[in-house]
């Protein structure tokens, strides 16, 4: 369990490094990227549960983002794999419960359950992938700024920034605590009992509270009045409009027209 969390924290650092790159995608105003991701996710989840053909073209968006932002595909896929168990666990019951044959491919009949399961996996890859691509191409504090510009409450935005600021400090403290414990518990093989666990957590919490007080004093001595002011300029220009408008039109078009069917017919020469 803790190795998974360790890895997850290593990944936060890695995502941050990715977000610092300077590509056409990274240079876009974050608002355009956030809004496009929202339109994308809504379009994907609005399909019926047996949809497969209609979902495939939506991979166009992640492919373009990965290309434009020069993002590492293998890293993103590994992250997707890490969180897939819950969706697979819920979805795997579909083939069990819905056995009506919907498609007959020669001698093999495919039941509705398998189709909806496959559709579920596609949705999962698309929606979670969109969130990962957003953070990898934008960075956390930039997304927070975009949220504020889009009307999110200031207190929440400051809370997000503060959390992110102290995340690594406290996680580092926690890792040092675990290491100190495992170095001193030869026979326990590093396992932590309930009582020791409470002591460790309690101490960590006390240190955290003290740290909050020190931070507050430091902020006060720098003229903090309860408002955090941020000077950062973003411009929602033509490129942003093109990105947001183009992709949104594309998604809505895919959702409500038979574009894929038409393309397929062209290639098959039917009609």
């Amino acid at each position: 369990m803790s190795t998974k969390i360790d890895r997850a924290f290593y990944d936060i650092g890695h995502l941050d490094i990715l977000a610092e790159a300077d590509t056409p995608l990274h240079r876009l105003d974050p608002r355009a990227k956030v809004l496009t991701a929202v339109v994308f996710i809504f379009s994907v989840v609005s399909f019926g549960k047996y949809e497969i053909a209609g979902l495939l073209p939506f991979f166009f968006y992640p492919a373009v983002l990965i290309g434009l932002g020069n993002l590492p595909l293998s890293f993103l896929l590994r992250k997707l794999l890490l969180v897939s168990p819950f969706v697979i666990f819920i979805g795997i019951f579909n083939p069990w419960l819905d056995r009506q044959i919907l498609v007959q491919l020669g001698p093999i009949g495919i039941s509705g359950g398998w189709i909806s399961f496959f559709s579920l996996i596609l949705r999962f890859i698309l929606t979670v992938g969109a969130a990962l691509l957003l953070i990898a191409s934008t960075g956390f504090s930039t997304i927070c700024m975009a949220l504020e510009k889009l009307g999110a409450p200031r207190v929440l935005v400051i809370q997000l920034l503060m959390l992110y600021r102290y995340l690594f400090v406290l996680v580092g403290e926690s890792i040092r605590m675990i290491r100190a414990h495992s170095l001193r518990s030869f026979n326990g093989k590093g396992r932590i009992g309930y009582q020791v666990f409470l002591q460790m957590l309690g101490n960590l919490l006390l240190r955290t509270l003290d740290r909050a007080q020190r931070i507050h004093l430091a902020m006060l001595s720098r003229a903090f009045t309860g408002e955090i002011r941020v000077i950062r300029q973003y411009r929602f220009g033509l490129r942003e409009l093109f990105f947001l408008g183009g992709f949104s039109a594309f998604f809505i078009c895919l959702r409500f027209t038979e574009l894929t069917s038409f393309l397929g017919q062209l290639t098959m020469g039917i009609k």
């Binding site: 969390i5 929606t127 995340l167």
Partner: protein, 342 residues
Amino acid sequence: MHMADALLSPAVGGVMWTATAATTVYCSTKVRQSLDDRKIPLMGVLAAFVFAAQMINFTIPGTGSSGHLGGGLLLTILLGPHAAFLAIASVLVVQALFFADGGLLALGCNIFHMGFIPCFIAYPLIYKKIVGHIPTKGRLLIGSLLSAVIGLQLGAFGVVMETTLSGISELPFSTFIMMMQPIHLAIGIVEGLVTAGIVSFIWKARPEILEKAAIDQPMGSLVLKPMLIGLALATVFTGGFLSWYASENPDGLEWSMFRTSGQEELETPTGVHKTLEGVQGKTAVLPDYGFRNTAGDDNGRLGTSVSGLLGGLLVLLLGVLVGLVLKKRSPASQNHPHPHPH
């Protein structure tokens, strides 16, 4: 357990987003009005503490598994409901973005389960009532246990409800609920014990922290009624709007190959999932027709649906190609800090 985008329909996801957004705005206003600027760094650092605390696991004797802190209830005890709601929301935003836990649409549901329920139901109605202003060890234990267990049961019930109403998963309501509730009973007991343990540790080491926290949050200021009415209105509005939207446009669904046979047994008993209903209404006209049937009409449908798949694959291929070309041309590929084989 985090709800996932893939299991949600836009109507359910939208309703939960609206409810959560409304609560967030309400809590932000409350925190601003409290004029306690000490809270701002405290909220941020305590939210970070939840992450740090989740790295420390203890072994549960006799089971071979391990437990850790969830943190929702602890944050509420230390910060009070309004500030804690924002802190929990921020934790979940970071989890959704960096750990890909859940997803952006499901964020509404997850913040509601793990933020709204502990802050505005479990804490004021259970914990506060049992523990009162001067905690004793026994009261702390019972209060934490009960509120953690009930809070998590409500959250798990929410996940089941939302999944069932969305209609993406085939799991029947009763089976799903029989799976989720017992698991979350165990999680709730661990969470309650851990929360009680930490709070009594703090109570012993630095009682003034808890006293201050208790005095800072007079229950008189927490008016639930207007908030609940507002939430109900927002929910009805979004639900109505989104289902109307979904049922207005069922035509785009028609051309998928997988809906062209009878699916009577899939009828959602609740009738909320209008999209599916529309589909079922259509498909019921053609019961028991499979693709084997070579009758003229079905043959045409088969052609359309296969071409639909093929077209989808083509666009996908085109996307991958465009991505590859863009990636090759990207000037940043040389000075990228961590070059990858792709």
